[in-house]
């Protein structure tokens, strides 16, 4: 709803300026937005907190600003006489659903379109103008916060019952739509049918028209939870539902009814029946204690007693004081105040947060440890960055048609915004390929990317941390393999096993599994045609995932220092032609088994092509020899070299490349 300055002014005895109004609302944190500002009037919208239904009314807002300007709130007058005997029978099926229900009969009312002054006011308040009695009911809702409903009395059969809808029951609401109901939804019914969705919207079958002369006017207090459930279920949020789901008090219901009757009588005449009501009319006012000492220690600011007593009385709270303790009786319209902290907040708001000093707490140094999980994140990000990879962060919610590119099933979202974000990713691969596609279309050529993110497992219904990698460039696979090897080397792991025999993932491509200590610790994929076509990427791409959670111990290990060797090393380079399906780790193993003083064996080049026979592969590698206790002689190294050449010839039929 909207709050016109001109309307608000009517509920306060003393004058105040539009500028003051905006300042006060700002101070209360209600974020006033100016909708219209001209010399005649100022119209505002505000952000009302979920716990303040009272602010959804002009009187409520007047009460909220009154303490700032020491203003006095004046309630509008209700003036009429009952001249009918007719008590309409009402009944509540379950008091849990409806705390209080009341109504009055009015007969002989001149229902007509609203006069222009009323129409203007109602529109200024943000409602659409309609017939006079309907507009007046909206006006009273805006004034008091009490939603009211006007039925055509002649279309209601005998009596009113507040009950749950039957399963499968149908009603056409005032917006012309048919609604299918169930037992969760509360309705207002007469003896034959439902005539309204309680607290949400009236039914077309009892709607007031310009033919109407007799009215039944309802003012009730429905259960907030019940109205909220109904409104959610039907997907129907109305001004009335918004107020009921936050809580209305019976006093407001009584006052709202009297005010509406009085206005209808004044504008459209008619005879008035007595109130018929059921439920609980009197709500016991709650009293909350505020200890001034608590207030001070809670806020860190001393607030004078005079300020408190004046604020409470200005806000309509009655207060008695015993020493440091204030006994505050809370008016029924402030259902948000239940505990001492609520009063503390109330005081802080009017004292203003700005006036509360700021300072640092003085505390004992009791170390609060940082979780390993967070340290793990930082550690891995740093390693990957050092290895020349750039970090990307993609969405956890992926399109339905990406699921086929994940090795595992994905957890579906029950209420997704769209099919494009309807699954929780079970791997990082498709997201990374999408990033490659996105950047390729923007002219990027080479990419080395990583993502360290959560993946969600369908089977275990659990989540785990995964390190996704993608390389887009020449020799993508070996670049990626090198990055993975370097990553594991950083973890102190040099004994990975690469299993290319595990085959192929139908939609993704050729799979290479990475094992460490006989456990699967990740995998690489050479994407196949299907996925490359889907993401519109050339073939120079390789992707993979490393399951980092098992590596925690390795990543946090304390490195032990080994003194650098004291004696010099000798390096010899070799170029051998092998069969193209040679298994390199086996070559290395056999060389190691010669038990020569070998420090390292490193491949630095491979060649396949015209210069050598087909089906062959030339591998160039260097061997570093070093003896821990002495300098190796040149003749010894030559001997080792001959031995290596001989071994390779004998075991792999390898030939020295000339």
């Amino acid at each position: 709803m909207r709050y016109p300055y001109s309307c608000l002014r009517q509920y306060l005895q003393q004058p105040f300026s539009p500028e003051e109004l905006i300042l006060w609302l700002d101070t209360l944190g209600l974020s006033p937005q100016v909708i219209k500002s001209d010399p005649e009037d100022l119209v505002l919208e505000i952000e009302t907190p979920a716990n303040r239904p009272d602010l959804l009314s002009l009187i409520g807002l007047a009460r909220a600003i009154a303490p700032f300007g020491r203003l006095t709130v004046q309630l509008p007058r209700c003036c009429f006489a009952e001249d009918l005997q007719e008590v309409f029978p009402v009944n509540i099926e379950n008091i849990e659903d409806c705390l209080y229900y009341s109504c009055r009969v009015m007969r002989g009312v001149k229902v007509a379109p609203s006069p222009s002054a009323l129409k203007d006011t109602v529109e200024k308040l943000g409602f659409r103008s309609s017939l006079n009695v309907v507009d007046l009911s909206n006006l009273v809702m805006a004034e008091t916060g009490q939603p009211l409903h006007v039925f055509d009395l002649d279309r209601i059969c005998k009596k009113i019952t507040v009950r749950r809808a039957f399963s499968g029951e149908k009603i056409i609401t005032l917006d012309g739509r048919q609604r299918l109901l169930d037992n969760d939804i509360l309705v207002i019914a007469d003896e034959e049918k439902s005539v309204a969705l309680a607290g949400i919207m009236g039914g077309a079958n009892s709607e007031v028209t310009n033919q109407t002369v007799n009215l039944l006017i309802e003012s009730a207090v429905f259960s907030p939870g019940r109205i909220r459930r109904g409104s959610k279920k039907l997907g129907l949020s109305t001004e009335a539902a918004l107020r009921f789901e936050k809580g209305i008090d019976p006093q407001t219901a009584c006052f709202g009814l009297e005010r509406l009757i009085s206005l209808i009588k004044e504008m459209a005449g008619g005879h008035i029946g007595p109130v018929s009501w059921t439920g609980e009319r009197e709500k016991k006012l709650s009293a909350v204690e505020l200890d001034a000492e608590h207030l001070q220690t809670f806020l860190g600011s001393e607030i004078p007693g005079d300020f408190l007593t004046e604020l409470f009385s200005q806000s309509g709270f009655s207060v008695t004081r015993k020493g440091n303790v204030y006994q505050v009786t809370i008016p029924s319209f402030r259902n948000d105040i239940q505990d001492e902290v609520d009063l503390i907040e109330e005081v802080a708001k009017y004292w203003t947060y700005e006036r509360i000093p700021s300072c640092f707490p003085s505390v004992e140094i009791i170390p609060t440890p940082t979780s390993r999980q967070y340290l793990l994140l930082e550690r891995i990000q740093d390693i990957m960055m050092r290895l020349g990879c750039t970090e990307v962060i993609t969405s956890s919610l992926i399109p339905e048609d990406w699921e086929k590119f994940c090795p595992d099933k994905c957890i579906p979202i029950v209420n997704p915004l769209s099919q494009n974000a309807s699954r929780l990713r079970s791997c990082l691969i498709p997201g990374l390929l999408e990033v490659v596609r996105f950047n390729l279309t923007r002219g990027r050529e080479n990419m080395q990317l990583f993502e360290l993110g959560t993946v969600y497992q369908y089977q275990e219904s659990a989540e785990k941390l995964s390190l996704g990698l993608v390389v887009y460039r020449d020799k993508a696979f070996f670049t990626l393999k090198g990055i993975v090897e370097s990553f594991f080397a950083e973890c102190g792991i040099f004994s990975l096993e690469w299993k290319s025999s595990t085959g192929c993932l139908e939609n993704l491509g050729q799979l290479v599994e990475i094992e460490w200590k006989k456990g699967k610790t990740g995998y690489l994929v050479l994407p196949g045609e299907k996925v490359l076509k889907f993401f519109d990427i050339g073939s120079a791409v390789a992707v993979g995932e490393i399951f980092v959670e098992g590596l925690e111990e390795q990543l946090f290990r304390i490195k032990k220092f080994v003194p650098p060797p004291r004696f010099p090393s000798s390096r010899r380079d070799f170029s051998f032609i092998f069969s193209e399906n040679v298994v390199w780790p086996e070559v290395e193993k056999i060389l190691r088994n010669l038990h020569l003083p070998v420090e390292s064996i490193d491949v630095f080049d491979t060649y396949q092509g015209e210069k050598i026979s087909p089906g062959c592969l030339s591998i160039s590698f260097s061997v570093i020899f070093r003896h821990p206790e002495r300098t190796l002689l040149a003749e010894e190294v030559e001997e080792f070299t001959r031995l290596i050449a001989k071994t390779l010839e004998e075991n792999f039929s390898a030939r020295i490349r000339q």
Binding site: P49, S396, L397, I413
Partner: protein, 340 residues
Amino acid sequence: MDWQELLRKIEEIKKQAAGEMSRISEASEKEQWRIKYLGRKGHLHQLTSLVGKAPLQLRRKLGAEINNLKQYLLALYQEKKEAIRDTGFLNVSLPGHRVSSGQLHPLTTATREMVKIFTRMGFGVYTGPDMETDYYNFEALNMPANHPARDMWDTFYLNEEGTRLLRTHTSPVQIRVMEKITPPFRIIAVGRCFRRDPLDASHSPVFHQMEGLMVGSDICFSHLKGILIHFCQEFFGHGIKVKFSPSYFPFTEPSAEVSISCVICGGTGCTTCSRKGWLEILGCGMVHPRVFQAVGYEKDKIRGFAFGMGVERIAMLRHGITDIRFFLQNDLRFIQQVSS
């Protein structure tokens, strides 16, 4: 030429040669200098030719002075020769060879910077699961079923009953931490959150938050202000102003919203701050006693404050990023520009 004049001239050449040499930074210039002073038609040679014309009694003295000068010039030349490598012509205007290294995502760099400010004040860092239960995301945070405040967070559900969901904020970590450790403590939590908000320039259904919680027996609102003002000034610069205004969250009371003076216009009003001069950046408050009750703390003896902020929003304001979609889109031009 009289004797005195000759000596002055030698001094002058010394001074001039040293001055010129000091300005030389290239091998070619150094050679020109050598020719000018030590060359066959150079200053030294000219002086030497004067020796023969000098009166006999002065020849020795003059010779010694000229030799001094020669040694001095040779030393200057040698010194420069050792300083400049003679590599032929070097066109230093050509671009350097850029080193390409890996970079962190702007969300990571922003998170780390925020984390650092708090860890310097002794806060520990925690994380929690993205897939949460209704209890941790709402109920334990003083939002029982059908609480109207639940509308503040539009939620993605993982089951029909609505008991399993994607967390809408990092606040569940507060509960999980309090269940595990006893006060006093101070922690922050970082992580991914989900809200059922359609994607636009300022909303993303997947985003990140940083949460903070400090609990002890004598924590008060003034401390909340002190810590958060310090954070804002460390992160956005010490010139900014920080404002606290009332707000509502079911899990804090009193609740506040923190705004900083607009980082774009400095507070005079612009489109970024909707002409208000202030930018809302985080929500906070004193932990509601019912939250302490939910985790089994003695609510009358324990007090604390909590705060939460969107990492994307904070990073956007800091770097002048106008669209939240940049973060998950991963345009490498964006990442490389913003990442530090």
